[in-house]
Subunit: 300 residues, 2 copies
Amino acid sequence: MSLLVVGSIAIDTVETPWGRRDNLLGGSASHFSLAARFFSPVKLVSVVGGDWPAEHTQFLASRGIDVSGIQVVPTGKSFRWTGRYKPNMNDRETLDIELDVFGRFDPKISEEFRRSDYVFLANAAPTTQMKTLEQVPGCRLAVADTMELWIQTAHADVLKLLQKIDGLVINDSEAKLLADTENLVLAGHRVRKLGPRFVVIKKGEHGAMFFSEHETYVLPAYPTEKVIDPTGAGDSFAGAMMGYLAEQDNFDPETLKTAMAYGILVASFNVEDFGLVHMEAITRGDVEARMADYRKMLNF
Amino acid sequence: MSLLVVGSIAIDTVETPWGRRDNLLGGSASHFSLAARFFSPVKLVSVVGGDWPAEHTQFLASRGIDVSGIQVVPTGKSFRWTGRYKPNMNDRETLDIELDVFGRFDPKISEEFRRSDYVFLANAAPTTQMKTLEQVPGCRLAVADTMELWIQTAHADVLKLLQKIDGLVINDSEAKLLADTENLVLAGHRVRKLGPRFVVIKKGEHGAMFFSEHETYVLPAYPTEKVIDPTGAGDSFAGAMMGYLAEQDNFDPETLKTAMAYGILVASFNVEDFGLVHMEAITRGDVEARMADYRKMLNF
């Protein structure tokens, strides 16, 4: 089924204990799309400035992603992010951020894109996410991400959004903040009660948790020695998860669990090199081989 | 098969966001024994002072634990620990610690106890652990725990011990310190190369990882909303794991994985009330019910 993602595509400069890379293709929607494409065709809506390197768009298109929804603002500048990871790879500091055109992002969804069945609202201001949502009233499943900034500065808008979406995919610190508790199990259920039918909490190197009315479960991360650059891991997770749901055209509890497992595995590839370097090189076959290994790991 | 544990039994005072309890039965070997008893008879070797409450020993005996190896030093004082947990339940501060007789612990293993097939060296000075090990040369499986203090202050002795044991069960921060890396997968393999045939890294609320020459895997924690007091969770984990191995009289890869799962589940009961309150109340049936739930959670 058709899968729509609306969010940032950006130019990232990243420094990790393994080195530094300048001007990588980054952004939530880029990582999401590269992960989702293994499972479903992806339609991407985003915005860039006049400085956007054409090769980034060509690259996305070459991976089968429908880039016709990328708006270009010739007089504006693309979203740029520069960050540095600490040796533990969990903590990072933003050295520089220029939102520019993405800060004024007003998503326009084309008639064709409005017929998408599965929609992912990547991290953006909750009012921007709501504008997208209003344009896809007929979608079967709408899932969103958010971040601490919005939970703190646009709390009422985040709460409004939670009332309208089917699923929320957030990380552990966001869940704790939103639910005002240090216990992640409690946090998951509290956030679910704010609106969405299901909540997924991403725990980075510790895997992910799932919460619905009748289900609570945790799956561990795939153990990898090679953590080069965690940027976009959470978006890859969401991309693979949503891509699998769209492929199956189903979001019953069993399918959601398998989708979460695919999210975990594709995210494990994402972190094994800088930016999208590993993500562009792997195939669905690589993902399935790791899945076989993962299922074996969890079987006893 | 027979299972021997050598380590501390103590008087704990603990404060968590849920309240405070004074003079609880604590210590590594107490938590270990209460967890292992579901699977195998346990022989306990420890040391206490003249102030030791007789009811603590009676309680252990009433749960089927062979307490004949508890040495009493009438002129000495029992090991006491007072600690406070932060709201995240992962960080704790030791408010007071009196090792006294346990600080001078010189384990004497009886002839009968020396014939134990499975031996767990609970946290103690590595030289003390080595003294135990020398008295059980014929055991089938010797597994040890240690702590940051010994890794920092008795590094050479820890390394010597690692050469002599079959398995090591440590927590994540200890593994990182011992292996000098922030990546737990790398840490697990590095520590294994220091001697033991297998290494288990306990990650608290995030589960546990296993490392042997040909196996690397992670199992998640059982998701519980009710974390009242984490004291002794790691020892409960080790107790259930060793108890199951002794029950099966086997430590092939499949059995070790199941043993680790039991460790995770019994630890999840441990944290659901203060001290040993929940551990004394549950039955093997409760453990098996949670195991069925856990297997279902990991199946997709």
